[in-house]
């Protein structure tokens, strides 16, 4: 590993120095490591080194039963665990050919959109923090706490939810919960305006992000970027609209795209602001879901006690907070365990683009770039 890194860095001249940024560094959002070759403040190259949080989640998926794997998926992306849950549930449902009741689909969409807001809040908050603005982070976390409260009422957990089930969700929404969630959305849209005043259009903040880490649309596609990172580059692609799953067919919403608001299209600010706008869209979706949520079962009545899918394979794809997330499952048809589990995540591909973008950046810009890509260490390493 080290040899590979040294090879990537290339020859180091007299004036250059090689810095280890991470794994223990305040702005690496977990344990990620970048080996930086810099001449003073200007970086020649930053090589990402991953694997410090590898927990063999995919392998675990092959030694536990299908329902047992659900809590493990939480750990694949602890900031957006609902999506990881849903991806797994969808994959296994495909294997089983199971129909999910409409109310469960709505509860999934509601929980996921709440979780998307929570995850984006962390993203925009830490973005501010990495740029040096410490207060917006805490304000973002304050709102996230309210989402955590809501989700806690829904499923009893605040971080690793384990809420979705194969064939539905674990619990129905408690009485009055929908109204409470609606009140939160009403309040939250005003708070978003406040973030815009407090952080988004702050002169220094804009100057720090505009024109930094520009990812052209073709490059974003080539490197397999997904989600807000892809849309920040102006590529119009959102699975919720383009390959809808679950309840998303029923909702009308816009897909915000990077426009180069203050700098060039696809820069750090675009990725940041796409997330800000996506939170507004999530609010829209939530409102519609609260209106339309049907009565009925929250878990399919026909889910077998012992889940033993027929031999075959399934691929589920969902639009997670960090973009397209996919579960590939192969069932052998004989046991209650998957023969192979593979998780495709947005953060891992996002790490790949750091090296080509880092050339010629300043050290401070690298921090902004990593923050704008919104990578989460367990999602990279799994």
């Amino acid at each position: 590993m080290e040899e590979l890194v040294i090879q990537k860095i290339g020859p180091v001249s007299d004036e250059e120095m090689v810095l280890n940024m991470g794994p223990q560094h305040p702005s690496t959002h977990g344990v990620i490591r970048f080996v930086v070759k810099a001449d003073g403040e200007i970086m020649k190259v930053a090589v990402p080194v991953v694997g410090y949080l590898h927990r063999a989640i995919e392998k675990i998926g092959e030694i536990v039963t299908y329902p047992q794997f659900m809590p493990y998926t939480d750990r694949a992306d602890y900031l957006a665990a609902m999506f990881a849950n849903e991806g797994w549930a969808l994959a296994v449902e495909k294997l089983l050919g199971l129909e999910v009741p409409p109310r469960a689909q709505y509860l999934r969409a509601i929980s996921c959109e709440l979780n998307r807001i929570a995850s984006h809040l962390i993203s925009v908050g830490t973005m501010g923090q990495d740029i040096g603005a410490l207060t917006p982070f805490v304000h973002a976390l304050r709102e996230r706490e309210k989402i955590n409260d809501l989700i806690e009422e829904l499923c009893g957990a605040r971080l690793t939810y384990n809420y979705h089930r194969i064939g539905g969700v674990a619990f129905d929404a408690p009485e009055g919960w929908i109204d409470e969630a609606r009140r939160f959305v009403d309040r939250f849209e005003k708070v978003l305006d406040e973030y815009d005043r407090l952080l988004t259009w702050n002169e220094i903040y804009v100057k720090r992000l505009a024109g930094i880490g520009i990812i052209p649309a073709e490059m974003a596609v080539d490197y397999g970027l997904v989600g807000p990172n892809l849309r920040g580059s102006g590529v119009d692609w959102d699975l919720r609209r383009d390959a809808p799953y679950g309840a998303y067919r029923d909702f009308r919403f816009d897909v915000p795209l990077g426009k180069g608001w203050v700098g060039k299209k696809g820069d750090c600010f675009d990725r940041y602001y796409v997330r800000m706008l996506e939170m507004r869209e999530s609010c829209k979706i939530l409102r519609q879901a609260f209106e339309k949520i049907p009565a009925g079962d929250f878990l399919a009545p026909k889910v077998p006690k012992r889940i033993k899918p027929p031999a075959g394979e399934a691929w589920s794809r969902i639009e997670s907070a960090r973009g397209e997330m996919g579960y590939y499952v192969v069932a052998d048809g004989a046991t209650e365990k998957a023969w192979r589990v593979r998780i495709r995540t947005g953060s891992f591909t996002a790490m790949g683009i750091v090296e080509p973008l880092s050339r010629g950046m300043m050290i401070a810009d690298l921090v902004a770039l990593i923050a704008s890509l919104d990578v989460v260490a367990p999602e990279i390493d799994r």
Partner: protein, 417 residues
């Protein structure tokens, strides 16, 4: 300080200070007491500010802040100091031990020495030097030396980058700061800190609304150049104190902790003692240069010295103004993001330096142009300028603040401290 000692000798011992044999000993004693007081003040002030800043930051961030040790957590700085004293003083094996140990001393003494020339009120100053401002600018350079020593000797790359950044930043912003100071110096015709404050006392023999420390007598509202210079000075002072948005040398998210990465225990705390004490230094400097110092509104500066009560009031006035500025600096720190190193350089050399060069010359021009005007007309100009640059923007600012509060359906809540 000597006038104060003279006065005490006269009033208590009823002796003539010129003839009394022990006068020199009393002077020496006074200086020692003043030295001890100033050092203690530095330490205690930075301690209290560390608590205050954390409480204020907590308030701004919808949280509480330290609230365990003592009432409202007030004693947390004592607990912090005790903790830091009892920590290991780690010295990295590969570091340059002598420099590594010495660096923090340079930083602390460089800062404490500025207090000699900083006034606290009429007559309340350790040494009213005729070169006071020049002296302050000189000794603060010692802080940079200490920072570079600590950074380079640590033998850590993060420290090195932080130290170099710090050096580049502090020396760059000395230029606009020095030039901005020139504007009040021009207006007052003095480099003595007390002399500059005395010059902000309004026209001699003015009526109640013209005499003393009314805002329209402050240098900041004297003319447009002084107004601009005030903000340039504040910006440059933030940069020299490594405060947000200029906290690049210790930018946590980039450089871990910058120049103090390798420090621990007491030596580490010296850097923070300096940072917080520097809050006072820069706020006091801005107060005395631009905001009328200790001048009491409605009281002519000549009168203050005759009454101990008025001296005390002048002390209060100075402290209130300075603490208000400290609040502004803290508020900025917890609001603004950090600028990048190239932006920092561009801001300094391409904006502040040319602006200040022009401001100094224009101030001189202004003085010559208005020197022949009668005092009343000058006071009128100051008054108009105070309204235009001070009162109206303040009202607009407050209106915007309350409008923002309404938009978030929030309210002003002063409970739960």
């Amino acid at each position: 300080m000597q006038p104060l000692a003279d006065q005490l000798i006269r009033s208590w011992i009823h002796a003539d200070p010129g003839a009394w044999p022990y006068t020199q000993a009393v002077y020496l004693l006074f200086m020692l007491i003043a030295g001890a007081l100033l050092t203690t003040f530095t330490a205690v002030f930075s301690g209290i500010v560390s608590w205050y800043e954390r409480r204020l930051a907590g308030r701004m961030q919808s949280r509480i802040g330290p609230n365990r040790v003592g009432p409202a957590g007030f004693l947390v700085w004592v607990a912090d100091a005790l903790k830091l004293i009892s920590k290991e003083d780690t010295i990295p094996g590969d570091s340059d031990h002598a420099l590594f140990r010495a660096g923090p001393y340079f930083v602390v003494t460089g800062l404490v020495l500025t207090f000699v020339a900083l006034p606290f009120g009429d007559r309340l100053i350790a040494a009213d030097m005729n070169l006071g401002l020049f002296y302050i600018l000189s000794v603060t350079a010692l802080v940079v030396v200490g920072l570079i020593m600590s950074a380079w000797s640590s033998n850590s790359k993060w420290s090195l980058v932080g130290g170099i950044r710090s050096a580049a930043q502090v020396v760059s912003y000395e230029i606009p700061a020095g030039l901005a100071i020139m504007v009040p110096v021009l207006l007052a015709g003095s480099l003595s800190t007390q002399g500059i404050i005395r010059a902000q006392g309004g026209p001699a023999g003015g009526s109640f609304f013209l005499a003393g420390g009314w805002p329209w007598n402050w240098f900041v509202f004297d003319d447009p150049m002084a107004f601009v210079s005030f903000f340039v000075f504040l910006t440059a002072a933030l940069a020299e104190g490594n405060r947000t948005p200029f906290d690049l040398p210790e930018a946590e998210s980039e450089l871990v902790s910058g120049y103090n990465t390798e420090y621990s225990g007491m030596r580490f705390s010296f850097f923070f003692l300096t940072e917080w004490a520097n809050l006072w230094v820069m706020s006091a400097l801005a107060t005395l240069l631009f905001l009328g110092g200790w001048q009491i509104p409605g009281v002519a500066p000549e009168v203050i010295g005759h009454s101990a009560a008025l001296v005390f009031v002048s002390f209060l006035v100075f402290v209130v103004k300075t603490v208000a500025l400290v609040n502004v600096v803290i508020w900025l720190r917890w609001t603004l993001p950090r600028i990048r190193v190239d932006q920092m350089m561009v801001l300094c050399w391409k904006y502040l330096v040319p602006i200040e060069m022009a401001a100094v010359l224009l101030t001189a021009l202004w003085m010559l142009g208005f020197a022949h005007l009668v005092p009343a007309a000058q006071s009128a100009i100051h008054g108009v300028f105070f309204l235009a640059a001070g009162a109206v923007p303040l009202v607009l600012f407050l209106r915007q603040t309350f409008a923002n509060l309404r938009l978030t359906s929030d309210r002003v809540d002063l409970t739960n401290w």
